[in-house]
Symmetry: C2
Subunit: 157 residues, 2 copies
């Protein structure tokens, strides 16, 4: 982790984001209850909410919904870089879920900045392309996403 | 909507999925409370949870988290095609959120099947590539995703 674009105690703007920098955004311990609660609300497939059905599934145990994995990345970002002046998520160039998230996983979110450019039509905004990886304790990749999002430029610039 | 791969009252397997078919999966009315509740749990940025902060944001009004938009698509799939024998979400080739989801939106989810192939290593499973669009009442695209997921083949085949 180079953390080259740090400034954790202040607001971070477009100008503070360093292309090529990699940082650990944060960690989170995933509980069985969290997996079942999320899936009950948003993705109530038997293998996400019922231990017995999960044992009969391709994974052989309870696994989290991909919606949960993605949403958890958002929550870890919020906790870890609450002061990054993000204004909109534009989308993903790609997103993979190679290994499912499971109860007890201690997940770790790492972001690498791939590109940045100022918006042509709205120069007070910038567009960032980043790669976000969520890893479990064994170092397996739960999510790898390349996404594009907008951030504010520093007001004085 | 051709609905060529219908069979709503029975389980639907790999063999029932028709490449090129397009179907409306379902609809959902989005409330202000739902947007704030989701974002409070998973993406608590001010413009997702606070009307006043949202008025000062780039969109000028309360908008849903992209995590909420994606998760809602999962819920509409579950309600609309609960009997499709899906076993895993593999990931997205791309996903865009061109227009944010807003309170009061009556959203509509449409899926087009792009490709299907049987798994080489696990012939009792198939891999489907589909394009999923979520539209609001004005016909604007809230989400357009090309994703890959696994489904069960019919046990007798």
């Amino acid at each position: 982790m180079s953390g080259g674009d740090g400034m954790a105690s202040e607001d971070r703007f477009y100008e503070d984001i360093v292309v090529g920098s990699e940082r650990e955004i944060g960690r989170h311990q995933v509980s069985r209850d969290e997996i079942i609660r999320f899936a009950t609300d948003w993705d109530p497939q038997p293998f996400h909410i019922d231990e017995e059905a999960a044992r009969a599934s391709v994974f052989g145990e309870l696994t989290a919904s991909s919606c949960h994995t993605y949403s958890l990345s958002s929550l870890i970002f919020h906790r870890g870089t609450a002061r990054l002046r993000t204004v909109a998520m534009l989308g993903m160039d790609s997103c993979r879920f190679p290994t499912p998230m499971r109860p007890g996983d201690e997940v770790r979110l790492v972001q690498t900045i791939l590109e940045k450019r100022r918006s042509g039509s709205r120069p007070h905004l910038g567009i960032i392309k980043g790669r976000t990886q969520m890893l479990n304790g064994a170092g397996e990749t739960l999510m790898e996403m390349t996404s594009n999002f907008m951030v504010e430029a520093r007001p004085s610039s």
